[in-house]
Symmetry: C2
Subunit: 157 residues, 2 copies
DNA sequence: TTTATATAATTCGTAACACAAATTATTAGC
DNA sequence: GCTAATAATTTGTGTTACGAATTATATAAA
């Protein structure tokens, strides 16, 4: 295979990876009956609750005004609870309800699981090839310093 | 480095790649003053115009109703023209205006260019490592059969 | 201690997607 | 010619996303 052709193949494979992940993400939305941002908020709450609205906005890289709307809808679906903080009565603590926790726990983490299992199943030599290849791609894109964000969330806004 | 740690590293690198690409895409939006879907529509028109509204909707995987709105806004910015087809007077042919073509031509294709140049600059042996690594990731995600879509557009809806 | 400033969440107003359903105009099939 | 189907659009609804203004509370300064 010519060099040019091999380069095309690499780029096409990267596109396939993108597409696969965004498809999985869409399926998670369909199965949960939630939108992407709503699911994203739940996942943050699952690992960080109880947290304030401002902290959730921070972690989602969104304005507080936007997050308030998302939380409104999650609260209406009884997946998230608001509690006025007693320590600082300006603040509101967000938490998952039992239903919210159940939903997010059984929400499919298809991509994550596929990647982990697939990589674990690889012979050590192959895994090192994958690792080296990814490192090169990161270097080419100048992305070494980026703090890695959850995959689905690069797909949002 | 332990195997588990190496797997974590691979996944984090994939996240960095995603993040870098979505950042580039956001910059393109900022520089062009257009939204993601608007830019995407222009890029399709750049390669396929003149096409009908229904065909544009097809290629964007969106409903016709949605595309009509996007085209409305692009027409208002004088980047796209609507022409009622003479052959089939139900249909409308979309095309880029001179301004539209200029805009899309100088719209940054940062990701594509970085990837191409970076991969071209690699020694053959390294390129093959990258290619092999990407192929493994595609296999793990079961994405071999996916028709590769432009990178940015997996980031949209 | 009062005053000023900052902070936390919310509301309000605006814009863009995104879709289903209904509508209008036109074409194609019988 | 009458009926079906098709192409684009309009209408109505919901979600994200933000800046600016608002309300309530906390902190700092005087």
């Amino acid at each position: 295979m010519g060099k040019h052709q091999e380069i095309e193949e690499v780029i096409n494979d990267l596109r396939r990876i993108f597409q696969a992940i965004s498809q999985h993400s869409r399926e998670a939305e369909r199965e949960s009956g939630l939108t992407g941002p709503q699911l994203w908020a739940l996942q943050i709450l699952d690992t960080a609750a109880p947290i304030r609205v401002s902290e959730l906005a921070n972690q989602m890289y969104l304005s507080a005004a936007t997050v308030v709307g998302i939380v409104d809808r999650l609260e209406a679906k009884q997946l998230v609870s608001r509690t006025r903080s007693t320590a600082d009565r300006r603040a509101v603590d967000l938490d998952l309800t039992r239903q919210g926790r159940e939903l997010v726990d059984r929400a499919p983490k298809v991509t994550q699981v596929m990647l982990l299992k697939g990589l674990e199943a690889l012979p050590d030599a192959d895994l090192e090839v994958v690792a080296a290849g990814m490192k090169q791609m990161v270097r080419i894109l100048g992305a070494e310093a980026l703090v890695p964000q959850p995959l689905q969330h690069s797909l949002q806004g």
